[in-house]
């Protein structure tokens, strides 16, 4: 039917054609703040969005653009914009759509910073959020208000691993004519391309699996181009006269890329959450091997699940592919390649045993990141989610003894050997506590 390049090829090539002057096969790092205009007319044309091109790296940059175009290609969007971090991506995306007085419906079981932004920061600017369970489309529908401008969630929740039924929530969003914005950091487009299921805007922390090397912070916002901003008068800053460029109407001028046009013209211009060209280069190196890494992540995750679920030291294990996960059937349908490489588990002996485990392992790294090529462990209650209220912790399905494991690409036998070391330390603590 189509001669479009496939996912693995796009991971390597999308967004980059060797430049005619030097023919660099690798993507060059354009470490520059600015670009020499051909003449005053050319400068005016760029400022006025008459032509594409680069005028200042806060707005766009050739190296960053390759990354953006690659992410857009992998997600099947009309455009993508890279940002300094995943949180910059989310914040700027919200600011692109919402104004004071607007409302968001969001998952109650998300990454702590996502919740903090919505629960504590945005209300200071007049944007409020109702939190609901991500696996309950009816509750999401019921929470929608006349001023709701975004439905937001994570496909695979961090760290509780709750799964959102993207097609079902997409239907709710479509009926209410509210854009569905999803944080897809944990799934990556290799596991799921939610735009195909009705999502409208995709948020990424590229720091995680997309980059994969743990060497560069970055984020991206992908525009699905599948939301009609002009259907009614609810999105006046996108589909109405905007203060910039002689009252430009982004919806009329740029059609399916209206959101991206405003994101870049206002979000990047006024807020300035730009990614550095060098970080874009580093993340591009990771993206080249995304399909290979993700397959290995899934293989090692499956092996770790088998190891953990059969181990005497482990009290409980949670992963969406396990039969006792409430979304197990949905996952089989929606995420046939796997449900990510995060596993959460608790040890017999509770929080103290968990602490002993984390301090005893020698191969797995105790740190805040996920999605690295290396295996990582952390105790969310005392770290990533320590700023979340006790009520929100319970609502988020987080327990005090939870350990979050980000399964890496090492030889699986080395990971399990390392974990045995940790389990022995945990067992000693548990035995001492029992005395």
């Amino acid at each position: 039917m189509s001669d479009d390049y496939k996912f693995d090829t796009l991971s390597l090539h999308a967004g980059h054609v060797p430049d005619p002057q030097f023919g660099s096969r690798a993507v060059p790092i354009h470490q520059t703040t600015s670009y020499v205009f051909r003449d005053t007319e050319h400068a005016a044309a760029l400022y006025n969005m008459e032509l594409g091109g680069h005028l200042y790296t806060r707005i766009s940059n050739p190296t960053v653009a390759v990354l953006e175009q690659r992410v857009a290609a992998l997600e099947g969007g009309v455009a993508a914009t890279a940002t300094a971090s995943g949180m910059a991506a989310l914040t700027t995306a919200v600011m692109t759509i919402c104004s004071s007085g607007d409302h968001i419906v969001a998952s109650s079981r998300m990454y702590g910073a996502n919740i903090n932004l919505l629960e504590n920061t945005l209300p200071r600017f007049g944007i409020t959020t109702t939190f609901v369970a991500p696996d309950d489309p009816d509750a999401i529908a019921a929470a929608i208000q006349p001023n709701t401008k975004i439905i937001f969630g994570e496909v695979i929740g961090n760290p509780g691993l709750d799964i959102m039924d993207v097609a079902a929530v997409g239907e709710v969003a479509s009926k209410a004519h509210v854009p569905l914005m999803l944080d897809c950091t944990f799934n990556t487009p290799w596991l799921l391309k939610p735009i195909e299921l009705g999502a409208n805007i995709i948020i990424h922390s590229l720091t995680k699996w997309m980059g994969g090397h743990g060497i560069a912070i970055g984020g991206a916002v992908v525009d699905g181009g599948n939301f009609d901003w002009g259907r009614d008068d609810r999105f006046p800053t996108i589909a109405g006269p905007h203060y910039a460029m002689n009252e430009i109407n982004f919806h009329e001028e740029f059609g399916p890329a209206a959101f991206t046009a405003k994101f870049r013209a206002e979000g990047m211009y006024n807020f300035g959450p730009s990614m550095s060209p060098t970080n874009a280069f580093h993340i591009l190196q990771g993206l080249e091997t995304l399909p290979l890494r993700m397959q290995r992540h899934m293989d090692n995750t499956a092996a770790m699940l088998e190891f953990l679920t059969s181990h005497d030291a482990v009290a409980w294990v949670k992963h969406p592919t396990l039969p006792d996960h409430p979304s197990h059937q949905l996952v089989q349908r929606m995420l046939p390649r796997g449900a990510g490489s995060i596993i959460v588990f608790g040890l017999k002996g509770g929080r103290a045993a968990g602490k002993a485990f984390i301090e005893a392992v020698e191969l797995a790294s105790h740190l805040a990141n996920v999605g690295d090529a290396k295996t990582l462990v952390i105790h969310p209650a005392s770290t990533t989610h320590s700023h979340i209220s006790a009520e929100a912790m319970v609502e988020g399905g987080l327990s005090d003894d939870m350990i979050r494991l980000s399964v890496g690409l090492e030889d699986i036998n080395d990971i399990t050997t390392d974990f045995e070391l940790g389990f022995r330390a945990a067992a000693r603590v548990a035995a001492k506590a029992a005395e």
Binding site: M1, A65, D228
Partner: protein, 264 residues
């Protein structure tokens, strides 16, 4: 801007400035299943260089109401009626693909309304195979995907783009999906039935420029060259690496060619 024509509200992109019929008018005509968004990188550019830009959505396309027109001749008459309704005596027709057929027909039958022709990725006839026509009616999403894929050159397939972060393929499919469900089918049938192109082209007396895409799989370059050879006095320029969506793939080059042509 919104404008009422034949009782239907149509959308016309004017490049971000109010339409002023005292300026030289450029009428941009889009192709099958497309809209004013074909001209994103031309409409603002020329509006800010002293021209009055009209990039309408044909009825049933883009942001225009109404029913898609059934023939190239109807589209040509519609374009002239649009100019009349805006008190425009004549315009330079800048046309892409199906729009080239419309421009040829308008130039032949309404020569007083057409002051010059810039014909982009076009031909004197655009036969459409039965499979695509049927697909456009029964599986429009597949037709959008196929045409968007065929319609773009090698750079676009590698997601090279002058607009940072943008995807030609993703954008192209969404532009087509924005139309009335019957629009693409009506357009393809109209193209397939139109046979007056060679006669119309041979009769043209207006200054004409043909911009030809070297990697065009929708209206292959050889047909563009044939058209240029048929139109008396026409000049042409070929963009070797461009696909059918030449105005988007090579916007600066297209615009500079048009600027030179308009300054003749």
């Amino acid at each position: 801007m919104k404008h009422e024509l034949h009782g239907e509200m149509i959308h016309i992109a004017t490049g971000g400035l109010d339409f002023d019929n005292n300026k030289p008018v450029l009428l941009f005509l889009h192709g099958s299943g497309q809209s004013h968004l074909t001209w994103v990188l031309q409409s603002r550019y020329f509006a800010h260089r002293g021209f009055a830009v009209l990039a309408p959505d044909l009825p049933g396309h883009g942001l225009s109401d109404g029913t898609p027109l059934a023939s190239i001749e109807e589209m040509a008459d519609w374009s002239v009626a649009l100019l009349d309704s805006l008190q425009v005596a004549s315009a330079t027709y800048v046309a892409h693909s199906q729009g080239v057929l419309v421009a040829l027909d308008a130039a032949a039958r309404h020569p007083q309304h057409v002051s010059a022709l810039a014909l982009i990725a076009g031909a004197m006839a655009i036969p459409v195979n039965d499979m695509l026509i049927e697909m456009s009616q029964h599986q429009p999403d597949k037709a959008f995907e196929m045409m968007t894929s065929w319609g773009h050159g090698p750079g676009a397939h590698k997601f090279d783009n002058t607009q940072p972060g943008h995807s030609f393929l993703g954008y192209g499919r969404r532009v087509m999906a924005q139309n009335d469900g019957a629009a693409l089918h009506a357009d393809l049938v109209a193209c397939n039935r139109y046979v007056s192109g060679p006669t119309a082209a041979a009769a043209i007396t207006q200054p004409s420029l043909c911009l030809i895409a070297g990697r065009d799989r929708m209206t292959p370059a050889k047909f563009g060259h044939k058209m240029a050879a048929t139109i008396p006095g026409a000049t042409s320029c070929t963009f070797d690496r461009a696909g059918h969506f030449l105005p988007a793939e090579f916007p600066l080059e297209v615009n500079e060619s048009l600027v030179a042509f308009l300054a003749r």
